[in-house]
């Protein structure tokens, strides 16, 4: 057990990095859901983000271009979802599932050409000057890649945007009471479009993290469930960007913990340890749900298409 304590900084550092793709997707989903639209297609958007990041980075030798492509593709998939659910008032669950299927099929097909090719132009970890030298926390938070720093910075920014800016207020109004927003002259549909597209772009960025930082090549199905975990993190965080940061880190750390427990020889079956990262969010969800006792914590108009005539 002592060996494990010694590894704690490593586990936390690994958790911060491993949580980044989930964090980016979750922050995007928070913006989307706060505007009243549910997008469960994150897994499909993220996998498309992976494949487009690899294709563009291999071609242009720039991870920034790869990231931009992933975000653009994610934004386009968000646009699809928005058009289907906002303009056509289609079922948000159906459209989200369609995105998942579309993403997994399309990424497999597009990825055929780049399968097995190593990517060398990556976002490499960079220790931040003097912050990285801080005892304990330096190693945990300040020796990461630019995307991880970006995710950490983005959480307070998203919070500030939603709570303290006018466009953020519009997003929240569209999600809480679109009728009121509409009657005050706010363009509800436009606001929702923007939120869904932004959410898609962030999920695409989360996908880009996997091949541009973690495992630098395209592998079919490489998101392996991160999109679904991000959805769970949003609920766990109660649509609060700050708590989403904690949720993503928790997921990352639990995953890192499982393998370290095996590595130091704790006599727990490997199958159980490998289950932990998925079990932890469920456990936390159950606890948060039982505490909230049915209080309305979700945006009130979440999942409901807004129709002016039915006001």
């Amino acid at each position: 057990m002592d060996a494990l304590w010694g590894l704690l900084p490593n586990i936390l550092a690994a958790g911060v990095a491993a949580g980044t793709p989930v964090l980016l997707a979750a922050l995007g989903e928070i913006i989307t859901e706060r505007s009243g639209v549910l997008n469960i297609g994150l897994e499909g958007i993220m996998i498309m983000g992976c494949v487009s990041a690899v294709m563009v980075t291999l071609d242009l030798h720039s991870p920034l271009a790869g990231l931009a492509a992933a975000m653009a593709v994610g934004g386009i998939m968000g646009l699809l979802h928005a058009a289907f659910t906002i303009t056509l008032k289609g079922n948000q669950i159906v459209s989200g599932l369609a995105l998942v299927l579309l993403g997994s099929g399309l990424s497999t097909m597009l990825g055929k050409g780049v399968l097995g090719q190593p990517v060398f132009d990556l976002f490499y970890p960079e220790a931040l000057p003097w912050l990285a030298d801080l005892p304990y926390v330096g190693g945990i938070f300040f020796k990461h890649d630019p995307l991880t720093y970006g995710g950490i910075l983005l959480a307070p920014l998203v919070w500030f945007f939603l709570q303290h800016t006018r466009p953020g207020l519009l997003v929240r109004a569209a999600g809480e009471s679109p009728e009121t927003a509409d009657s005050l002259g706010a363009p509800v549909a436009l606001v929702r479009y923007g939120a869904v597209i932004a959410g898609g772009a962030l999920a695409g960025a989360g996908g880009a993290f996997l091949p541009l930082v973690q495992t630098p090549s395209w592998v079919e199905g490489m998101t392996s469930g991160s999109g679904w975990i991000a959805l769970a993190v949003v609920i766990f965080a109660r649509w609060d960007p700050g708590k989403a940061l904690l949720g993503a880190w928790l997921y990352g750390a639990v995953q890192a913990l499982g393998f370290r427990l095996q590595a130091v020889g704790v006599p727990i079956p490997s199958q159980f340890l490998n289950m932990l990262p998925y079990l932890a969010p469920i456990a936390v969800l159950v606890i948060t749900a039982s505490r909230s006792r049915g209080q309305a914590i979700a945006p009130r108009a979440l999942g409901l298409p807004y129709e002016r005539e039915s006001r």
Binding site: A3, L7, N10, A14, A18, F84, L88, K89, G90, V94, S95, A98, L101, L102, S104, G105, L106, T108, M109, K112, L115, G116, P118, L210, Q214, T215, P216, S217, V219, M222, S224, Q255, A256, F259, R260, Q262, A263, V264, G265, P267, S270, Q271, N274, E307, S310
Partner: protein, 364 residues
């Protein structure tokens, strides 16, 4: 709302169709090569596509080599054949197209192979990784543990911490043999060598493979072996400045500073003599388990930064194996201290298939 329903339905349909159109080509069996003539027709059935640079790629490389070497065969590779009942349709179609030999390259085809083989006794079926044998069905696999033993010798020479790591897919017999042989090899040249294995319970998950590799580095391992399918381990090893041993195909291009060598499938070592025997009518179905000697398993090229004297030592051990020395020769103790192979004895193939213990030095 009712006003837009027809449009909605159409759009849902369009979206569904779109996703179908997109995923079907990927799932459809696609022909790699076909050629006409009075040659013996041999079909290779693959579960995924050859672009995985792993298992299937290695079979397809062998297919090409065999066709080049044996003038009398004509081959075709079929990708993305689903492992379920669809495989039966594909196999039956191949028989009807006049294929004399059908090579099924996945464990999961075993039952289907037997079923179709029973119906068509004049056609030969070969199934890799399985152990099924019938009048017209042979199975085949390779002794990767022999190559792992040599990789272990190299690891034993290269390690500074005397601690090796291994990322295992699933703890099955052949996987355990690989882990044991890896450490046995290291202990030949480095008696202090120990090994830690992490099982990730899947053959394929880049994120888990990477995290497992990093965990091993955290506890001091500085040479990593694996039997999982992606290059994630090598990339993780390179980022931490430790070494790794490749698997399936040459992995060095993914991490040129980390990969020392690799365990590579060279299936032509089996396909060539077997297809010859079938052609000449001398083939006897068996559960084949070949190794380095038979050329089914080989080593990837050594990294150019390895000192020549170390390579020389590995080559000496290789020569011994090729001369018939067994990997599992006594005395071998397991990690509970129990004597498993007495002095002067070695394990037969049947005994090897039952090994479910770790050798001494593998950490709990």
């Amino acid at each position: 709302m009712p006003r837009c329903l027809p449009l909605l339905k159409k759009l849902t349909l369009a979206l569904l169709l779109l996703s179908l159109v997109v995923s079907v080509p990927a799932a459809l069996a696609s022909t790699v090569k076909a050629e006409d003539g009075k040659k013996m027709k041999v079909a290779f059935v693959y579960a995924y596509n050859i672009g995985d640079y792993g298992w299937i790629y290695s079979h397809d490389q062998a297919r090409k080599k065999v066709e080049e070497k044996l003038g009398f065969v004509q081959t075709k590779g079929i990708e993305n054949v689903p492992k379920d009942s669809n495989a039966e349709r594909v196999l039956t179609d191949l028989v009807k197209e006049g294929y004399k030999v059908i090579v099924c390259t996945s464990y999961d085809y075993q039952k289907t192979t037997l079923k179709v083989a029973e119906k068509y006794p004049e056609v030969y079926f070969l199934n890799s990784t399985g152990s099924v044998v019938a009048d017209n069905v042979g199975s085949y696999f390779g002794k990767t543990f022999e190559a792992n033993y040599l990789a272990g010798v190299l690891a034993g020479l290269m390690t500074k911490t005397n601690k090796l790591g291994y990322v295992g897919g699933n703890p099955i017999n052949v996987g355990i043999l690989d882990v044991n042989a890896f450490l046995l090899g290291a202990q030949q040249v480095n008696p202090k060598a120990e090994l830690k294995v992490i099982w990730i319970n899947t053959w394929f998950n880049p994120a888990k493979e990477r995290e497992a590799a990093l965990s091993l580095v955290d506890v001091g391992a500085d040479v990593l072996g694996h039997d999982t399918n992606t290059p994630a381990i090598h990339q993780a090893a390179q980022s931490k400045g430790v070494y790794s041993i490749g698997r399936n195909t040459d992995m060095s291009r993914f991490a040129p500073k980390a990969v020392l060598t690799g365990i590579i499938w060279t299936w032509d070592g089996y396909y060539e003599p077997t297809l010859k025997a079938i052609h000449e009518g001398t083939f006897k179905p068996s559960a084949y388990w070949g190794g380095l000697q038979d050329g089914v398993v080989s080593m990837a090229p050594y990294a150019d930064f390895i000192p020549a004297d170390k390579i020389k030592i590995v080559e000496e051990y290789k020569a011994k194996l090729l001369a018939g020395e067994p990997v599992f020769k006594g005395p071998i103790y397991d990690n509970q201290g129990k004597l498993r192979v007495p002095e002067g004895k070695s394990l037969s193939d049947d005994e090897l298939r039952k090994v479910d213990w770790y050798v001494k030095g593998i950490l709990p």
